[in-house]
């Protein structure tokens, strides 16, 4: 789903669907789907399918069409269960040489969907292909690797220096492709891979611009899997159509943002459910090179002045949680939160406008006649860039604007086109911005994306993830230490220290928690992930997690 363009039209149609729900027989439109063990997925991707399944092409994996169901990883790392790693195409792995070498033992008896056996050679080939073609290396694994070699049934990864968190990118985020096919491709970067051959439970059969049909891979290595005979993935170009498809029961698995989900979806049938596990923060990002915003007192005052749950309730229809200043997303990573540290900062910067004003006054700011604080003739007045097409983010920003106004800080939202916004964000051409990251299986991943100085760039150059231009050798040292350890206790200790950085320096201000959008219908299919059984991230666009979900699903009865 793209969260944007929740037009009045969408609401109108969705409301009407809800209103006439009882008069339209619910079974008629979904005819033939459930009984034959068919699952229909529903996620607006904005364009027709081009029937390309290259698992190293951001378009293809970003839409969730290739990685998980067709191609598989070495291991599955569950972001919702404390980065628990399940052996997948690798049966085991071990760190050695002071965590500078990672050895995977590759599973025997796995076949690709053309019947050819998969071996360690395929794994080594896949990673060496990423080295040869940097355009394929989406997670920059070769920024830390020095070599990948096959040794019998093992594949040995040698690192330039310790980078333990890259286990996630290597084992979970990289799809293994068959050497006997990909080695013959002249340029894998522009390879369309229209007839993908992977080790996954499903094969594409067939793909049209309007719909992808997946059917079981008869060579699949797990006996008795998959249990759903047919998976349909229609292409939706508009949110309205995708939402209507879901609310009328024509699709069983959704990853849509549905405003007022209660009345429009879950109240309509006892079989309709939803679950939105949070995965990363949507944050207010101060450009730390801008005068005023480079003052930690101003940033602390802002953190106190914003009522985060209120923003989530109004802007996000209560479908997302308010964020934490620790930067740790809860409840997903609750066990990581340093509650003692958070308590020291006004109970994790709980909403306190009086305290915000007090901090500014103590820092030498005085309120002008226009109700805006100023120091040395410089007013606390900033512009904030936002994506105008994301109606929820625009609503969030208007709540934030009025809350900051109340403590004497003026912000002027600039609602830009998506590309202009991101372009300005990357080059640092902004004062304040509103944006999010991908995160990862522990809180360290998101914090590293925001705070590691290697992810930033001078103003005018594209920064990969550290848009606020935060740079602190002490913090970088924490990330280096985290990269060296496999000990959970040490990791927790380092993340605690990172949270103290977040609390004391307020390099950015988490506002709401980005949810993984997930709607599901239990009338014909069981085995869905849920809060009590969070075996994988539940959204269709989460790779390779969606492949895990497909393997857990089964026709009912």
């Amino acid at each position: 789903m793209r969260r944007l363009i929740v037009t009045g039209a969408a609401l109108l149609i969705a409301a009407a669907v809800a209103a006439c729900g009882s008069s339209s027989p619910s079974g008629s439109s979904a005819s033939g789907s459930s009984a034959s063990g068919t699952l229909t997925m529903d996620d607006e991707t904005g364009s027709e399918w081009n029937c390309s399944f290259n698992p190293f092409n951001p378009n293809d994996i970003g839409n969730g069409v290739a990685f998980g169901q067709v191609y598989e990883p070495l291991a599955f790392v569950n972001s919702l269960e404390d980065a628990k790693a399940t052996p997948w195409l690798a049966t085991s792995w071990a760190w050695s040489d002071g965590n500078k070498t990672l050895t995977f033992t590759i599973r025997k008896g796995v076949k690709f969907s053309d019947g050819t056996p998969m071996s360690a050679a395929d794994v080594a080939f896949t990673f060496n292909m990423l080295k040869k073609y940097p355009a394929l290396d989406l997670n920059s694994v070769w920024s830390v690797l020095s070599s990948v070699t096959q040794k019998g049934d093992d594949v040995v990864f040698d690192f330039k220096s310790q980078a333990v968190p890259y286990f996630y990118y290597i084992a979970d985020q990289t799809a293994i492709v068959p050497e006997h096919i990909w080695s013959k491709i002249a340029n894998p970067v522009t390879y369309g891979d229209s007839n993908p051959v992977g080790t996954g439970a499903y094969v594409v059969n067939p793909c049209t611009p309007q719909n992808i049909t997946y059917t079981p891979n008869k060579y699949y290595w797990q006996p008795g899997e998959p249990k759903i005979a047919k998976v349909l993935f229609p292409a939706f170009t508009s949110n309205d159509t995708a939402n209507t498809y879901l609310t009328t029961g024509q699709a069983q698995w959704g990853s849509q943002f549905i405003p007022n989900i209660g009345s429009l979806y879950s109240d309509k049938s006892p079989d309709n459910h939803y679950w939105f596990p949070p995965i990363a923060n949507v944050s207010l990002i101060p450009n730390l090179t801008v005068p005023g915003l480079n003052d930690v007192a101003v940033r602390q005052a802002m953190a106190y002045a914003i009522n985060r749950p209120q923003v989530a309730n109004i802007g996000e229809y209560g479908e997302e949680n308010g964020g934490n200043q620790t930067g740790v997303v809860t409840p997903t990573f609750s066990s990581w939160v340093d509650t003692a540290a958070a308590a020291k900062y006004g109970n994790d910067y709980a909403y306190d406008p009086a305290k915000a004003k007090q901090i500014l006054q103590a820092d030498g700011y005085t309120m002008g006649s226009d109700g805006i604080f100023a120091k040395d003739g410089k007013q606390l007045s900033f512009t904030v860039i936002n994506i105008g097409g994301y109606s929820d983010w625009v609503a969030d920003m208007s709540v934030i604007q009025s809350e900051l106004k109340a403590v004497g800080i003026a912000i002027t939202p600039q609602n830009l086109a998506q590309n202009d916004d991101v372009s300005d964000l990357l080059t640092g051409t902004f004062q304040l911005a509103f944006y999010d990251q991908t995160g990862g299986p522990t809180p360290e991943y998101e914090l590293r994306q925001w705070l590691f100085s290697g992810n930033t760039a001078p103003i005018g150059k594209d920064a990969t993830t550290n848009y606020e231009r935060y740079s602190n050798p002490a913090t970088d040292k924490l990330f280096a230490e985290y990269g060296q350890t496999t000990s959970s206790a040490t990791q927790h200790q380092i993340v605690d220290e990172l949270q103290q950085v977040m609390l004391s320096q307020v390099p950015f201000i988490p506002i709401t928690e980005e949810s993984d959008w997930f709607q599901y219908n239990t009338s014909s299919i069981t085995g869905w992930p849920s809060q009590s059984d969070p075996y994988a991230l539940p959204a269709i666009y989460q790779y390779p997690d969606m492949g895990q979900v497909l393997l857990h699903l089964a026709p009912k009865g």
Binding site: E48, A135, S143, T244, N419, T465
Partner: protein, 327 residues
């Protein structure tokens, strides 16, 4: 003949200007395709991917603008339109091929139908001025043509799609269909075309009706029409051969232009009905800074409109001898 040559020369100069604009305009947009891809998949693709994407799309090429322009002209002439960035790595020609027939079928047929129907109603209304049809059809069509067609589309989805369930309201075919030349597939395509096509039809037919009626009314006051009546010609002959033939001329150019614009699709209709045409594709191309796809689509539209105008000019010359001898 000189007239046709003059028009053809004009055609070539306009084409060159359009092609050149088509090259420079997209490049003045902020951002680049890699940034656009990051924006599209934010939260799904790791920020580290930016480096890979810039390599992938050749964003930081040092090639001069002039060299790019020459390369662009060469590729245009040789039909090598490059690889679409939105639908990477599918070639642009392939991407357009998947959409163009849907658009030509839906928007093209509807445009022709609207023109024929509108012109016919306009001619009859003018001929029977003040009678029943004239007092009902034109006012009604003024109203329908004033309604935005995406709104009509949404109302159709609500009423005929969701509530009455008479017609499908999403996509070009049933999603489980495989394209084939058989009755059930063709029937399915037609079934899916009903709602978008009717929505488009009832909102566009009014324009043709009104201009035709007004032209016709003016023409009916001409001396040669009175002369024809005086000669005692059959009224159907006066209406068609004397009045309508002259009244239709201004409409013809308009019709040619709208035929040209068919290639651009009907963005809102395609969006509302999830229809797989090129109009929505164009929007996608612009949003994703997909220069190759954008250029190819704009080029197609420009050429189609220019060719249509050229043909309309020639047609006008045939219908109306005065345009030939003048100048």
């Amino acid at each position: 003949m000189r007239y046709v040559l003059r028009r053809a020369g004009f055609f070539l100069v306009t084409l060159w200007a359009a092609v050149t604009l088509n090259f420079f305009l997209p490049r003045m947009m902020p951002g680049n395709p890699a940034v656009a891809m990051m924006a599209k998949f934010h939260g799904r693709i790791n920020g580290q991917a930016l480096t890979a994407l810039e390599t992938l799309f050749g964003v930081n090429t040092k090639e001069s603008l002039l060299a790019q322009y020459v390369g662009y002209l060469h590729d245009l002439v040789t039909g090598n339109w490059g690889i679409s960035l939105t639908f990477f790595p599918t070639p642009v020609s392939e991407v357009i091929r998947t959409g163009i027939f849907w658009t030509l079928g839906l928007v093209g047929v509807t445009t022709i139908l609207a023109f024929i129907l509108g012109t016919w109603i306009g001619a009859i209304s003018a001929w029977r001025r003040g009678r029943l049809i004239d007092s009902i059809a034109p006012p009604l069509l003024v109203i329908t043509s004033a309604i935005p067609y995406f709104w009509v589309g949404m109302m159709f989805i609500l009423i005929f799609g969701l509530k009455l369930q008479w017609f499908p309201w999403s996509g070009g075919t049933n999603i489980a269909d495989t394209p084939a030349w058989n009755l059930s597939y063709i029937g399915d395509v037609l079934d899916h075309a009903v709602l978008p096509s009717v929505a488009l039809l009832i909102t566009t037919v009014g324009g043709w009706t009104l201009t035709m009626r007004n032209n016709m009314v003016t023409t009916l006051a001409e001396d040669y029409v009175r002369m024809a009546r005086a000669k005692g010609l059959k009224s159907s002959r006066i209406m068609l051969d004397y009045a309508a033939r002259n009244a239709i001329l201004p409409n013809l150019t308009g019709f040619a232009m709208s035929l040209g614009f068919v290639v651009g699709g009907a963005i809102l209709i395609e969006y509302v009905f999830n229809y797989p045409g090129v109009g929505y594709m164009l929007l996608q191309a612009v949003q994703n800074e997909d220069y190759p796809l954008m250029q190819a689509l704009f080029l197609l539209i420009t050429v189609a409109v220019l060719v249509a105008i050229l043909l309309a000019d020639i047609a006008t010359a045939i219908f109306d001898p005065r345009t030939r001898s003048a100048r």
